[in-house]
């Protein structure tokens, strides 16, 4: 109850930070999606490069986020820039991987049939392979988003935007009156953002999956 009171008293700030959080996540994921999907398509004729890219971006995931933020500060300073770059870096791998998987698992018979109809490779990609791979790609974007929502909470350590700020402020006030409420508001906010975005992805999936694939 005390917590709800805290939330209602600080609603404005919480909403502001939540909006920031969502914005920075969506921005990073959007950039990552463009990079990931393009790389996935561009490396179709270069399987070795593709494997290398997958291995490299996959290994980037093992880099601890706090350390990556730290590494970016000398170059980009504090705040928004290192946050977006770091989140983008993490978000690329699931999207790239699912683009590759999605494109690879399109039924070769369908592609062959299109070829037989005289469709060129760009046409096949645009009208057949990408739409068929889309549910898988979208799922990669979803995975990236959920992951990045949680990582973005650390951004506050480098003066980045978002709900992490509440967590760190709670920490700074440890023993103080509202420390728990503040940190809790941050954590609950992050989880809610993740859940809501996840739901939106379910919706997006329903809306954007070609009808014939929805079974």
């Amino acid at each position: 109850m005390e917590f709800l009171e805290y939330v209602s008293r600080n609603a404005q700030q919480i909403i502001f930070l939540t909006t920031q959080h969502v914005q920075v996540v969506l921005l990073s994921v959007a950039v990552a999606a463009v990079i990931g999907v393009s790389l996935g398509i561009a490396t179709e004729r270069a399987p070795r490069l593709r494997r290398l890219l997958l291995a490299f971006t996959g290994t980037l995931l093992t880099v601890p986020s706090f350390a990556l933020f730290g590494l970016l500060i000398p170059v980009l300073g504090l705040g928004l820039a290192p946050t977006v770059v770091a989140l983008t870096v993490y978000a690329i791998f699931p999207i790239l991987r699912n683009t590759v998987t999605g494109l690879e698992t399109v039924d070769p018979a369908v592609v062959e049939a299109a070829r037989g109809m005289g469709m060129n490779s760009w046409g096949r990609l645009r009208t057949i392979r990408l739409p068929l791979a889309w549910p898988v790609i979208l799922n990669g974007i979803r995975v990236s988003t959920i992951m990045v929502v949680a990582i973005a909470a650390i951004a506050a350590a480098v003066r980045g935007p978002g709900l992490g700020e509440l967590i760190f402020r709670g920490l700074a006030r440890i023993g103080g009156a509202n420390a728990l409420n503040q940190a809790l508001a941050g954590v609950v906010g992050v989880v809610l953002v993740a859940l809501v975005l996840d739901l939106l992805f379910v919706l997006a999936r329903r809306l954007t999956t070609p009808r014939g694939l929805r079974v």
Partner: protein, 251 residues
């Protein structure tokens, strides 16, 4: 598609040639330490970056990772086995759903909430790490056991193996690769979360990252970041080696 469900799934792709990770880690570490030798450090930097302090922080970091990972294995593996037994199987699905949802909780949140509620220091940080890294191991133990071919279990039972013998000679060995992948994820997560443990007075290499930010000193910041990354690469490499070594033959 099941693979894509895992949020952090380092196992998904065949890793880079096995020597790349350790070599990269060694180069990073040597480069960093070499730079500290030749760079002209100011007084704050000199005070923070004493070799003993670096060594201590590294050991603390490793201790955090090892202690929490061991605890995670001790807790999550038996729990996962229990939850995949016939009588408890109905619990499995909700627990897995919960485990997946739990991944939306930010690690720093677990750490800070525990610090506020219970206290700070090494052991509380271990508790936070355990809570955070429990999920992948639990999930992979359950998934690993569930994906064992039913006909193998049937054949085992049909030969007169007891439920326990089926578990130890068939189910567990066949689940080992998936379980190991989960443990590897837990290790990597722990290296990362342990870097944040500095905020709850548990030490570790994150200390340098934090002081680097606070004092605005790039050498300190870089020391912390680079060594943490090197440690993560080494841990990932070792985990990969262990995974290959412990995977049953014939699979």
């Amino acid at each position: 598609m099941s693979r894509a469900e895992g949020v952090i799934d380092v196992e998904a792709e065949a890793p880079v040639a096995s020597w790349v990770l350790p070599v990269l880690a060694v180069v990073l570490t040597a480069g960093m330490l070499g730079y500290l030798q030749v760079a002209s450090l100011d007084s704050i930097e000199q005070r923070v970056l004493v070799p003993d302090a670096i060594l201590d922080a590294t050991i603390q970091h490793i201790n955090l990772v090892v202690a929490s990972t061991l605890l995670v294995i001790v807790i999550a593996v038996p729990l996962g086995i229990l939850l995949s037994r016939r009588r408890a199987r109905w619990l499995g699905a909700p627990v897995l759903a919960l485990a997946n949802a739990g991944q939306a909780i930010p690690s720093i949140g677990v750490l800070v909430l525990l610090a506020i509620l219970v206290g700070v220091g090494f052991s509380m940080a271990v508790v936070a790490l355990v809570i955070y890294a429990l999920l992948p191991v639990l999930r992979n133990t359950m998934v690993g056991l569930q994906q064992v071919d039913r006909s193998l279990i049937d054949a085992g039972r049909g030969m007169g193996m007891s439920a326990r013998q089926v578990l130890t000679t068939i189910e567990l060995p066949l689940a080992v690769p998936v379980m190991l992948a989960g443990i590897r994820v837990a290790l990597i997560l722990n290296v990362g979360v342990a870097a944040l443990a500095t905020y709850t007075n548990a030490g570790g290499l994150g200390t340098f990252i934090e002081s680097g930010i606070v004092f605005n000193r790039m050498p300190i910041l870089l020391t912390g970041s680079v060594l943490t990354i090197a440690l993560a690469l080494i841990v990932d490499w070792l985990a990969g080696l262990a995974e290959n070594k412990l995977r049953p033959r014939g699979l």
